[in-house]
Amino acid sequence: MKRKVLQPVLLNIIIIALFGWAVFPLYMAQIQFAEIMKNPEPPWEVTFQFTPVFIFFLICTPIAYYLYKRNKKKHKGFWRALMLPPELEEADEREQYVTAKACRTSYITMYITAPVATSLLLLYPLVQDSFSYYPVIVILLIPLSQMLAYFISLNKNM
């Protein structure tokens, strides 16, 4: 049972971490583009590191496909399998109850992490030059903490 719950959570954490890594070069390119917009006189150039994006698609495509196949067994129908998170356990009333409790825990976690993350963004002007992708990390910490809270609650009540 623990593996059944842990596996999709771990895979989703890997996807989020790789997504964050893939967003860094896009974010850096956007910063360069913003500089160009301030002074559009040529010559200008935008450098973009493609490796993280490539690795993201390389690793996450099979993971997403695996989670979709797994989800299709659990939630009947294409759209349900595509849109519903694989962590939702809803096979019977007890699983629905446990999932509801875990969602409650996750919602409470959001209540705490959202203002904390917003407060952490106040530090951004101080670290902007040395740590320009700081907001990406802070924002991605919100779903990560929610997923962990969901998993801990589900694991405890399963």
Binding site: M1, A91, D92, E93, R94, E95, Y97, M158
Partner: protein, 69 residues
């Protein structure tokens, strides 16, 4: 606390947890949780279990302890 005789009655009918779970339309883990007293079943599930065992509700489920009132 809700007590029950599900395990005893299941053994009497030589049913496995899996078989009872299929009969009442839940997972095996749910039957295990009910037997251990970790999960309080819904009224509908309780009635389904009573139907399988052919017993009245009060003969299978009863309240014991501080919640009894």
């Amino acid at each position: 606390m809700l007590k029950n005789r599900v395990k005893e009655l299941r053994a009497r009918l030589s049913l496995t947890q899996e078989q009872l779970a299929v009969e009442v339309g839940v997972t095996r883990q749910t039957i295990a949780s009910i037997e251990k007293g970790d999960y309080v079943p819904s009224l509908l599930l309780g009635i389904k279990i009573c139907t399988v065992f052919g017993e009245a509700m009060e003969n299978i489920f009863w309240v014991e302890g501080e919640d009894e009132r």
